[in-house]
């Protein structure tokens, strides 16, 4: 008994240290579900409400900027509409309804919480399941890609920011459609890296990078950014630094993209996968 007490006296702190460290590491590894743990959910909910109030106040200072952004977006949409009308009036064509089915629905949301200084950044949005938002939906802003919804609550949802080490997206050079994998390296909030573009492809500074639409989440042709620099890394592929179009520090209005055909696509893809495995 005494030796046990002596042992505890001598190594008790080490044991306590290991125990506490084990708890912490356990909490860390269940992190993908961190928003499911009740206490963080409650705290996050109240923090979101507080943050929203604060945002309402601070929004006034950037109203001008937000307006400008929206005006620019409006102008671009109007121009696009004009192009569509013109082509329609120029040629007659047979229209069947199935050609004009709607594939995407955009839900407007506001950013109530956002960070760019961590390695794994998340964005809280003020819309949730009640607006039809669920996991794995793309989030885009007026200027380009923003992130991917990872958790949807009733009135709020949490999206993984593109500025997150775990974020992956298929993106292409818009001029020749060569595509690669886009990710963030955790350093610069304005730069992501595009890999897997073969070196025989011509790349120039300023080339536009956009989404491919190969994933079931992001629509095709959403702006990602422009080529800032590129170098011939090891192997036959370029490492391309992409200057992001979206200013993540000033995120405000975003759209959550609901893909009406997502289940269709993923179901078929899954079928093929299981068949191949057999």
């Amino acid at each position: 008994m005494r030796s046990l007490l002596n042992f505890l006296k001598k190594y008790g702190n080490v044991l306590l240290f290991l125990l506490l460290e084990a708890i912490a590491i356990y909490l860390l590894t269940v992190k993908p579900d961190y928003h499911k743990i009740k206490i963080t959910r409650i705290v996050n909910a109240s923090a979101s409400v507080l943050q929203e109030r604060l945002n309402l106040a601070s929004d006034y200072f950037v109203l001008n900027e937000i307006n400008q952004q929206l005006r620019k977006e409006n102008r671009e949409l109007k121009n696009r509409l004009e192009r569509v009308y013109n082509t329609e009036s120029l040629q007659t064509f047979e229209a069947t309804d199935s050609v004009y089915r709607q594939k995407y629905v955009y839900v407007q949301a506001r950013v109530v919480n956002n960070s760019v200084n961590k390695q794994k950044n998340y964005i809280t949005l003020d819309k949730g399941k009640l607006e039809g938002i669920s996991e794995d939906m793309a989030v885009i802003g007026p200027d380009g890609i923003v992130g991917l919804v990872v958790e949807a609550g009733k009135n709020y949802s949490v999206a993984m920011s593109a500025l997150n080490l775990d974020f992956r997206l298929s993106a292409r050079l818009s001029k020749n459609n060569y595509f690669g994998s886009l990710n963030w390296e955790g350093v610069d909030v304005n730069t992501m890296v595009l890999n897997e573009i073969p070196q025989h492809v011509s790349v120039e500074q300023g080339d536009t990078i956009e989404t491919t639409g190969y994933s079931a989440y992001f629509p095709e042709g959403v702006m990602v950014g422009t080529v800032k620099a590129f170098n011939e890394g090891g192997g036959d592929f370029y490492d391309i630094d992409v200057e992001l179009a979206t200013g993540f520090k000033k995120l405000n209005n975003v759209y959550v993209v609901i893909n009406l055909e997502k289940n269709d696509q993923t179901d078929v893809e899954q079928k093929i996968n299981t068949e191949q495995r057999r």
Binding site: Y34, V43, N44, S115, Q119, E185, G186, V187
Partner: protein, 168 residues
């Protein structure tokens, strides 16, 4: 005793507010993420038992984690810092040891004692924190650079806060 508890609770709340409201909003670059809340662990009295330091570290880390949505991360790093504290104190002890009742502040043993003390513990804490956050070895040297540059800013801010708030 009660007075001390009140004082440390006050210190804790002030540091938490500084951390969450100011420091977490420094969005300057990925290389500058100061975490000044560890000053709470640094300033605990000398004679406080080690298990108490560990428990307080755990609680501190957990509170920071919950308020910044990173469950487990700060907890692990702060417990590590709290565990290493007695060793660091022993390592840099003055010739005639510590007086009981003294607080490990800048005033008590001077700048030249305090600076190595915060630098060592800050580095240990940040080292654990940033590597756990990245959780992969791809970015080893970049993470090391982040550890060093953020530690520099943490130390700087800690000195400022210590000079401003902790006059007693």
């Amino acid at each position: 005793m009660l007075n001390d508890i009140l004082r440390y609770t006050g210190l804790f709340i002030v540091l938490l507010a500084i951390q969450v409201l100011l420091m977490n909003n420094i969005q300057f670059s990925g290389y500058v993420n100061p975490y000044v809340y560890i000053l709470f662990i640094l300033l605990l009295p000398f004679e406080i038992p080690s298990w108490m330091v560990l428990l307080l570290s755990f609680a501190t880390g957990l509170v920071i984690d919950v308020s910044s949505g990173t469950l487990g991360l700060h907890t692990a790093a702060t417990v590590f810092a709290g565990f290493s504290r007695p060793w660091v104190l022993k390592l840099i002890a003055p010739h005639d040891g510590y007086e009981t009742g003294d607080l490990p502040g800048m005033k008590t043993y001077g700048f030249r004692w305090f600076i190595p003390y915060i630098i060592i513990i800050t580095l240990l804490h940040h080292f654990a924190l940033f590597y756990l956050e990245v959780f992969r070895f791809d970015y080893f040297f970049r993470t090391l650079l982040r550890v060093i540059s953020s530690s520099g800013f943490t130390v700087l801010f800690i000195i400022i806060i210590q000079a401003l708030i902790v006059r007693r």
